[in-house]
Symmetry: C2
Subunit: 384 residues, 2 copies
Amino acid sequence: MKIENIELYYLSMPEILDEADGSQDALIVKVEGGGLQGWGECEASPLTSIANFICPKSHSAANPIKNSVLDKELNNINDLKKIIHEVKQKSLMIAQTPHTFSGIEVALLDLLAKKESTTIYSLIGHSSSQPKIAYASVLFGNNPQDTFKIASDLKKQNFKAVKFGWQNFGLNFSQDQEHLVAAREALGNEIKLMIDVGAIWGTDIEEASKRSKIFKDNNITWLEEPFYTDAYYEYSQLSSTSNLPLAGGESCHSIESAKNLINYGKVKFIQIDAGIAGGILAGNEICNFAEKNKVQYVNHTFTSHLQLSSSIQPYASSTFSIYAEYPMQLKSLAWDITENHITKDHNGMINLPLDVGHGMKINQKALEQYNVDVEIFVNKKQLF
Amino acid sequence: MKIENIELYYLSMPEILDEADGSQDALIVKVEGGGLQGWGECEASPLTSIANFICPKSHSAANPIKNSVLDKELNNINDLKKIIHEVKQKSLMIAQTPHTFSGIEVALLDLLAKKESTTIYSLIGHSSSQPKIAYASVLFGNNPQDTFKIASDLKKQNFKAVKFGWQNFGLNFSQDQEHLVAAREALGNEIKLMIDVGAIWGTDIEEASKRSKIFKDNNITWLEEPFYTDAYYEYSQLSSTSNLPLAGGESCHSIESAKNLINYGKVKFIQIDAGIAGGILAGNEICNFAEKNKVQYVNHTFTSHLQLSSSIQPYASSTFSIYAEYPMQLKSLAWDITENHITKDHNGMINLPLDVGHGMKINQKALEQYNVDVEIFVNKKQLF
């Protein structure tokens, strides 16, 4: 079939708050071909990626992504790989390209899987989909008491793992310690505790190392993003001096960058967002590389269940990579994007839908309700 | 002084050709404060970066760059470092950010140097500006005869070094060899010859290795960008097996990524574009790191002389890093952006202007002549 149409939908909450919550807006992709629709989501600044999609050409390595996808043939994975290659070659010099293309790749795989009446994970070679331990992904409370309460609630909901992230964690040692102790106390000893500091220390190994002991005392499963995503030297230093298991990778924009974080950054968990790293096939290749190096693959998801399903597809059948990020504080927008949702069972596990494609059904009403109208004119000609 | 105003100018040739020539359009930045103007250039897809500059906020780490710069105080380098830090923190999750901010950083340094009535290189700590060996940066001819002619012409112009790049080089072994032989024959033995393959081999070490002998037979000074910019493993493998001096870095979006290409990719020449890597201060830090590791710093420039001056500032006083890229086939747009130009002397050397800031005077007429009109509306409100 031919890729006949591509549409981008910019959705947003009425108000965007100054918090780390990535579910406040969304860029949704629809592709059409052969009478079918495929859907994906970019984890991207929507307006920036819309511009990237339709921008006038700058030179042979800075083309609008649209030109490398629309009207192309898509009958099998090989056709998709050709498109991926063309996008990489022709839009290499626009830094936003991976953010924009990732959601398109997911939509194309969804379309192709629907054409073949199969799931995406089967289409890319997974024999089955294994349940994963859902870790509740939440932000720290405003104070240790709030953190304690959030952790207690999640324990009651039967989660077997909880990850706290961001807010002001990492800036004040004693407050950090209080939050950690509160979280561990509320969870008890059995439930896994992960900590995400969102690159707060930049390249400052000392700030990170100072906290090694309090992380260990509270038995964390991993420390996520201590540094900027490409600060491999700093990652490897912290890993070897503290022996803390490190996690990272949500900002990886390519297969190579994820391999580098494993090879040189020495992370033990590589966290890949299908809406950032290049899509599901990129994730699949990263997963193969990671597991050969005894590194667990983990989805990164802080948006909709469309993105949740997409980001789990690359390691669907793995029994080595056992965790899955499960966002818990979604704004209504991100929840409403899909009609169906991935739900946790009584053992705290989640699994992919069995339906074709990524298995998520788009809620057309949400596309209207949260719609942001964008018009872009270049020399008076409307490009979007 | 306060940063009172920031303006972005999208300029373009009337027609953009499907060639690797990056001088076909431009994104120029003007900043104003204290009655002075500073100018810089982003090496970026203009529309994508304009969107990045004014996009609605997505969350606390995905803000429009404008908000982190406009109305801020700028009285010294430390103020600038605060702005750089804020941009990095608040726009970390928009991949386009370094492309967009780099030109702004240059404009801010230009403004600050003008306020201090000094050159940028003096302001950032260089005691002097040393002449560099200008290497003529050109594209291969359409056939070996054309390449021979281009090389002969450059020799007559007294260049002491020439770099050929791109077009279809890297796809056909025997044609590649013919181009190389033609270039070397025309240049003779004394003139340095560099080759730029523009990441043509992606991650394919074999395709690169096949050509090791013909590169050596023609005595090249470096092989530039054999692989994608973050394919460090592939870089290091080619470096160790072929012993070819490798060069790369034009796509480095951060200080860390340049350090990685040195540490892990084992390049011998790190090529940094002030309009991509974060600006001139980023370049300066990369230069210090590179030279400590016995790696030469080189500017990357394939656009205007505004960018040429900006990209040489970070290593102005170095006597270890001796080469400078000198673009030779600029479209009229890129030439016309500045009223003055950096010219080569009779020994094939170039040096920075002595005037305040980066020393380049913007041609107001060119801003009008090549102007591309952009209007962006979000929910009917005009953001640009």
